[in-house]
């Protein structure tokens, strides 16, 4: 298993190392010996065509799915992620593209959903409201006028910002963002990408799953490419150009060098 630690970036030890991950659903092999490093203070973009296994990998890391084989090294030590609670305990938070917020609840209620603070058995609304306001101010999410407004009244970018703020409230160390800019306009996309950079500057490890290569090149420090359930390459973003990323995504390799090998596997 250790032999596969080939491509780990040699600088500092990554926050999370995924080693030789396998996952299958019935006869379908969704992930095949996946190795991935997620260093702190970096934005890692995970790209790949539809069905490449991005979502499955994300869900394995965030504890939604259990892996068949493989290993997670969290801060260098082996960790078991068998449920979303396990992931949350380690400090892994996932911002889902959709379905993450309850429209009928207000911003504070959404941010504390599942982790409400109570005082003698009853909800401590004032305490939660203050903490939510502090987190939003710290992330410079200031466009919402009242944090007691229902989430239904927010724009797409604001909703995404709230979802991110919700994720970082819990001293999380790794934030996974699933298609954070899909369905957003230009200005709102910029807002969310700025927010992503701010998370990185705070020293968090950020993983962004995206289809949009513009966004990827704008925000990512590292790029990892998946192809048919395999992680074919992960390198600093500067070593890629748009052409090479597309080629890795569509063929699993560069046609000049190792493209054929990837396809044979």
């Amino acid at each position: 298993m250790t032999a596969a630690v080939a491509r780990a970036s040699a600088k500092a030890e990554p926050l999370l190392q995924v080693r030789e991950l396998d996952k299958h659903f019935g006869p379908v092999q969704a992930l095949y010996h996946v190795n991935l490093d997620l260093p702190a203070g970096k934005v890692t973009a995970l790209v790949g065509d539809n069905g490449a296994g991005k979502s499955v990998l994300t869900k394995c890391i965030s504890g939604v799915y259990q892996v068949d084989h493989g290993q997670f090294l969290w801060e260098g030590k082996e960790a078991h992620i068998r449920s979303t609670r396990d992931a949350a305990r380690l400090g892994i938070e996932t911002v889902y593209q959709d379905l993450a917020l309850a429209d009928n609840l207000d911003i504070v209620q959404n941010m504390f959903l599942g982790r409400e603070r109570t005082r003698s058995g009853l909800l401590d609304e004032d305490n939660m409201e203050r903490a939510a306001a502090e987190t939003l101010a710290g992330l410079r999410v200031t466009t919402v006028r009242s944090i007691r407004q229902p989430v239904a009244s927010l724009s797409g970018g604001q909703r995404q910002s709230i979802a991110v703020a919700k994720a970082v409230m819990w001293n999380s160390k790794l934030v996974i963002m699933d298609e954070p800019t899909a369905a957003l306009g230009v200005v709102q996309t910029k807002q969310v990408l700025d927010l992503t950079r701010r998370l990185r500057d705070r020293g968090l490890a950020v993983m962004v799953i995206s289809h949009n290569l513009n966004d990827v090149f704008e925000v990512a420090d590292r790029i990892a490419v998946m192809y048919l359930g395999r992680l074919v390459i992960q390198e600093d973003a500067s070593t890629f150009d748009r052409q090479s990323v597309v080629e890795y995504m569509t063929t699993g390799g560069l046609s000049r060098s190792d493209g054929r090998r990837a396809r044979e596997n």
């Binding site: 979303t84 609670r85 949350a88 996932t94 889902y96 379905l99 993450a100 917020l101 309850a102 429209d103 009928n104 609840l105 209620q109 959404n110 959903l113 599942g114 982790r115 409400e116 109570t118 058995g121 009853l122 909800l123 004032d126 409201e129 203050r130 101010a137 710290g138 410079r140 999410v141 200031t142 466009t143 919402v144 006028r145 009242s146 007691r148 407004q149 229902p150 239904a152 009244s153 927010l154 724009s155 797409g156 970018g157 604001q158 369905a183 306009g185 200005v187 709102q188 910029k190 807002q191 700025d194 927010l195």
Partner: protein
């Protein structure tokens, strides 16, 4: 929305960035940032014109019912103290059933079984206090009845959540099963006939008094004062705490107006109840059923609005997937919700048994389900889940009870009463659907 975040300083007043984006101003519910009474009134008006009317329609409906029936009822008897107390006693059953149904509706489900499951529980209680057979103490009989209901609801909830069966079908089956069980329980009646609550046994009397007992007029005033003072103080305290900790709070004048309104309602209700309502002799004082309904209202309001469990109920009704990802155990919350729904229905039907002075096979369990759903929806609870309060059930119950009572005084037939109730239910559901559609199209246009 459309401003660049880096221009915004941490300490910038929100209004500053909003000047660049006028569309946001329209989105924010103005009541949330209003600081003075004037702003509150304006916010309220704009909320109503935007289709977010809250309890206003049901209050308007109540006023309309009062005016219409007062005008047309013979000798204006509709507003007499006798009739108003009568009306409240009849409505109380519907109110409690509507609060029961509220649990299912807020979860985004429906429970069609409340009428007969509640009737089973009530029949068990009435049977158990019969002095000639079991002769249980009243409290044990009530606990047994409510326990049966809770267990029945928990079984239905388990089927719905674990086997993922639609609540509509499971509770429809439950409705039929409970109907059968109800008749079986009735057949255990002492000797022949159906169990009733007439007699000299103390246990019988207490169950009978749930609806018919009255509190001494002086004590009624004292209790009303205590309740108003308690509610008012807690409202003032929570606002005060927010204000001192620097959070946005409604103006103090608004809090005092609300407390004043509650006090006014309490005074009117107690004054009406304290008039002598008997033709011969003396019948005065607040009926027990009023504090009973208020206690259920208070308990379920606190449970739904002030506890984690209640928060999860709303979250599941609004977006089950978000709740699941937040680590909420959907199956447990839903199952408990159905158990609470059935148990509250048991309370409602116990009041009904007391109103009837016993239990018999004429209990219209099916009709009461529709009343319960109609009352909750008329009060402002959404059929689509995620929105609704126990208070809605109480207000809606008053509307339905008012319509029934008024039409009864006019001597309308049952046929007409059914049709009118059906039309009112349709109207309420239409308002709910339209306001929901308005909100959806609004958020789509914002994206």
């Amino acid at each position: 929305m459309a401003d660049a975040p880096e221009k915004t300083e941490l300490t910038t007043a929100p209004d500053v960035d909003l000047t660049a984006v006028p569309d946001v101003v329209a989105e924010v519910p103005p009541a949330l940032v209003a600081q003075s009474l004037g702003e509150y009134v304006r916010a309220w008006v704009s909320r109503i014109s935007a289709g977010e009317s809250g309890v206003l329609p049901v209050v308007v409906a109540m006023v309309a019912i009062v005016v219409v029936f007062w005008t047309i009822s013979p000798n204006h008897v509709f507003l007499s103290a006798v009739n108003l107390v009568n009306l409240f006693q009849q409505s109380a059953v519907i109110m409690v059933l509507a609060m029961a149904e509220g649990f299912a509706l807020v979860l985004g489900e429906i429970d069609l079984s409340v009428g007969f499951v509640g009737a089973c529980g009530a029949a068990i209680t009435v049977q158990l206090v019969q002095p000639l057979t079991t002769n249980w103490p009243w409290w044990a009989a009530i606990i047994a009845g409510l326990g049966f209901c809770a267990a029945f609801g928990a079984i239905q909830g388990t089927l719905i959540t674990r086997l993922r069966l639609p609540s509509f079908i499971v509770t429809l089956a439950g409705f039929l099963i409970a109907n059968g069980l109800f008749l079986i329980i009735l057949a255990f009646g002492p000797f022949s006939g159906y169990p009733n609550l007439q007699g000299f046994s103390n246990n019988l009397k207490i169950v009978y008094n749930l609806m018919w007992g009255t509190i001494d007029p002086t004590i009624s005033w004292v209790l009303a004062a205590v309740v108003v003072a308690g509610v008012g103080f807690s409202m003032w305290l929570s606002d005060h705490r927010r204000r001192t900790s620097g959070l946005v709070a409604p103006p103090a004048s608004l809090t005092f107006i609300k407390i004043g309104l509650i006090a006014a309602v309490a005074i009117v209700v107690v004054a009406i109840c304290n008039t002598n309502r008997a033709v011969f002799g003396v019948l005065e004082g607040v009926p027990w059923v009023i504090p009973i309904v208020l206690a259920v209202l208070g308990a379920w309001t606190i449970l739904l609005q002030r506890t984690k469990y209640g928060r999860y109920v709303y979250a599941i009704g609004g977006n089950p997937e978000a709740a699941r990802r937040a680590g909420v155990d959907l199956a447990v919350v839903r199952t408990v919700g159905f158990a609470l729904c059935s148990m509250t229905a048991g309370m409602g039907m116990m009041l009904y048994a007391s109103l009837l002075g016993g239990m018999n096979n004429n209990v219209q369990g099916g009709q009461y389900v529709l009343f319960a759903v109609a009352a909750a929806v008329i009060g402002g609870t959404s059929l689509m889940g995620g929105r609704g309060k126990p208070l809605h059930g109480v207000l809606g119950g008053l509307v339905i009870g008012g319509i029934y009572n008024g039409m009864y005084l006019q001597g309308y037939s049952f046929e007409a009463q059914y049709i009118v109730t059906g039309l009112v239910l349709l109207g309420a559901v239409t308002i709910d659907a339209l306001s929901r559609r308005g909100a959806t199209s609004g958020s789509v246009s914002r994206i």
